[in-house]
């Protein structure tokens, strides 16, 4: 092999087994990682150079089956079968090997060269599990490599074994795994009948999928030889008669049985003498009463920690930056360039001082909860309430992610099963105050009006989500599907993962928000010099001044806030020349401004995410609705508050 050594490999497996951890390690990219199923929603590609090979790696969404019932499943199957990667890496959660094998068995039926990466072996000991890798390898007929992905152990062995597999030109693994007698007979008959029909799939796999009533494969065969389907139908009826279930269940059942047999041979579980800490957590956090209690406590303390930390850090930075600025002013003298530079410096410092102190702890805590496994517990606890909003418990995961940033939250709506539920959940997520909105809630209202007012704003936001959910589920009628979700075990959160993910978020924040404040600052400066302010103010003041009771300057800030919400507060401080907002805004104005900012429009990036997931029409609908809704709500509240305060 002297030509360019290029390889194509694909990471496939059930959800939440560590595929993206491996992908990130191999490619240096940053796929979202967390402890709940369904984070990766689209296939991701990256490249790696290894031992003279250029390897293209593909990370697939986690799937439970290769029968096409969901979009992810057809994407993944299509990819593995027709793109013909040189080899597939089947990532498997060793702790939950039995359930994972159900997918492995199907993948092996596809007949592509495969390496089994047995992940999370670091957890086996504390669970009292022993796995005999050698026997597993023998039974499955493919290389089995134990790895611990988050500790970056064993991943290169997976590549080595894969490359070895290719270089020895070993024939595609002959699947020696056999199902029950009746099923094998049916397969045999079909394999014979399929002779001469050309598809990207192996005959055995086709036969199985036909017996499983896979719609896509049925269509494929109908085009080639429709006679054959009659034959298939007969065989199905026979199987159903013997087993008393639908033939697709018969096959699934056989697979479960096979997995169980394999487990019996390779896995030994010694019952633990004492209940593990994580198991105790599970008992409390999913408890009928304590579960809700801890959920409230976690949310409340999250608020408190973020607020206290943000308040402290922004106060500290204020002092440092004030010194820095005055020092710069004294040395720079007076020139156009210096004043321009000063303006830029001011806006960047304002961004760091006002936004960062709140955004940083937000992400740290969210990623901590996510990596620990708490999000899935909330899905369990909130299922009932979510049904009232026309969706089910899983929707609480995008909602929680929304507190960090609405963009990934919108994208993760794909974990919902139907189009309708996805959109409903999407609408709700854009009403969640993201960390940028929280900068305004905490940095303006919390700091200058009072912590309880800030807290009240969150409660208010949640109430609004409830009302909107009720309304939207009336407008988009239809039954919610039932919740089915695997519950990930709690894991000791990995500090490295949390810090890395937070770091990527912050980097994004700095790279995107940084230039934006600078540009917006320059534009506002420009508008000021051109003398357009009175014109713009006049245009917006019926809403901003008359109806909302805010200072005229906020009109234009709210327009810039569409880019990023924290800009509203940051630009306010740079245009006013002070971060002590109490000097320029009354408490009611601060509350009103916070409510408008929280509700008035999804930011540009969120709008783009909405469009990607739901199309222009729906996005426009949601956006326009939010604008009117925010103006109406904030104005009314400002009027009501002015009676009392």
């Amino acid at each position: 092999m002297n030509e360019k050594k290029k390889l194509n490999i694909v990471l496939a497996g059930q959800a939440n087994v560590g595929k993206s951890v491996i992908f990130n390690y191999l490619t240096g990219l940053h796929q979202h990682i967390g402890n709940w199923p369904g984070k990766t929603i689209e296939k991701a590609e990256g490249t790696l150079f290894y031992k003279g090979y250029t390897i293209d790696v593909v990370d697939l969404p986690g799937i439970y089956s290769l029968t096409t019932y969901s979009i992810e499943e057809s994407i993944s199957r299509e990819y593995i079968a027709s793109q013909k990667p040189d080899f597939a890496v089947n990532v498997v959660d060793a702790v939950h090997l039995e359930r994972n094998l159900l997918f492995t068995l199907q993948l092996l039926e596809l007949g592509r060269p495969t390496v089994l990466a047995l992940n999370m072996i670091n957890l086996l000991k504390e669970r009292g599990i022993e796995i005999n890798f050698k026997i597993l390898e023998k039974i499955l007929g493919v290389p089995v490599v134990p790895i611990a992905a988050i500790y970056r152990k064993g991943i290169t062995d997976v590549l080595d074994r894969g490359i070895e597999l290719l270089n020895f030109q070993s024939p595609t693994p002959q699947n020696r795994l056999k199902y029950g007698k009746e099923v094998e007979q049916a397969i045999e008959i079909l394999v014979e009948a399929l002779e001469g029909i050309n598809t990207p799939y192996t005959k055995r796999w086709l036969a199985l999928k036909l017996l499983e009533r896979d719609g896509e494969i049925e269509k494929l065969i109908r085009e080639k030889n429709s006679e054959l389907l009659k034959n298939v139908e007969n065989l199905r009826t026979q199987l159903e008669k013997i087993h008393g279930h639908d033939s697709s269940i018969v096959i699934a059942d056989e697979r479960c049985h096979l997995a169980f047999q394999i487990i019996k041979e390779v896995m030994k579980i010694t019952p633990l003498k004492k209940i593990s800490l994580q198991e105790r957590f599970d008992a409390v956090t999913a408890h009928k009463i304590w579960g809700y209690f801890t959920m409230t406590a976690i949310m409340a303390s999250m608020f408190l920690v973020i607020f206290k930390f943000g308040d402290w850090l922004s106060g500290l930075l204020e002092i440092i930056f004030a010194n820095l600025q005055s020092w710069f002013e004294t040395i720079s003298g007076i020139s156009v360039l210096a004043s321009l530079f000063l303006a830029v410096l001011k806006s960047v410092l304002a961004l760091i001082q006002i936004a960062l102190p709140y955004i940083l702890p937000f992400y740290l805590i969210l990623f901590l909860l996510e990596d620990w496994g708490y999000l899935a517990r909330v899905a369990f606890l909130m299922d009932n309430l979510m049904h009232k909003l026309g969706t089910h418990g899983k929707a609480s995961i995008p909602l929680l992610l929304g507190f960090g940033c609405n963009v990934p939250a919108c994208l993760s709506c794909r974990i919902m099963e139907t189009e309708r539920e996805r959109f409903l959940t999407g609408i709700l997520t854009v009403f969640v105050p993201c960390s940028a909105a929280s900068v305004i809630i905490m940095g303006l209202v919390g700091k200058f009006v009072g912590m309880y007012w800030a807290f009240a704003l969150y409660v208010f936001a949640i109430l609004i989500i409830f009302v909107i959910g009720k309304l939207a589920s009336k407008i988009l009628p239809g039954e919610a599907t039932e919740l089915i979700m695997e519950m990930p075990d709690y894991k000791r959160p990995s500090l490295r993962t949390i810090i890395l993910q937070t770091w990527f978020r912050l980097k994004e924040f700095i790279y995107i928000a940084g230039p934006l404040v600078i540009i917006s600052g320059i534009i506002i400066e420009g508008i000021y010099w051109a003398g357009w302010f009175p014109f713009i103010d006049n245009l917006l003041s019926p809403i901003s001044v008359k109806w909302l009771g805010l200072p005229a300057i906020t009109g234009i800030l709210l327009i810039f806030g569409i880019l990023r919400k924290e800009l509203i507060l940051v630009m306010l401080s740079t245009t006013l020349g002070t971060a002590n907002f109490a000097q320029v805004l009354s408490p009611i104005q601060m509350l009103t401004l916070a409510i408008v900012s929280m509700l008035y429009i999804p930011c540009i990036a969120t709008i783009a995410a909405l469009r990607k997931e739901f199309g222009w029409k729906k996005t426009l609908g949601v956006t326009v609705f939010k604008i009117f809704f925010a103006i109406a709500v904030a104005g009314s509240i400002s009027k009501i508050l002015s009676i009392f305060l």
């Binding site: 939950h96 359930r99 159900l102 279930h245 479960c256 997995a259 008992a283 919740l483 695997e486």
Partner: protein, 84 residues
């Protein structure tokens, strides 16, 4: 799958108490739901244990094949089990 069979040992998953163990007899739901459950390893004759039940007709958290799953009430009420 005859409903009128009043075998005292037949329950719906929703009727089971926390920490009770049982064996699945059949799933009465539609093809789609049955298939999704089967993909997660819930087929007839599977042993399960109810770990937690959420209040106010919330979902059921069960242990099956060494993993935990949550199943919404509507679906859980279509899963027929017998106690171990």
């Amino acid at each position: 799958m005859n409903q009128n069979n009043t075998n005292e040992n037949k329950f719906f998953l929703t009727d089971m108490e926390e920490n009770q163990e049982g064996i699945i007899i059949s799933v009465l739901g539609g093809r789609m739901a049955t298939k999704r459950l089967a993909d997660l390893g819930l087929t007839p004759k599977t042993e399960i244990k109810v770990f937690k039940k959420a209040p106010f007709s919330g979902p059921v958290m069960i242990e099956v094949r060494g993993s935990k799953l949550i199943i919404g009430l509507g679906l859980a009420s279509k899963i027929l089990v017998k106690l171990k």
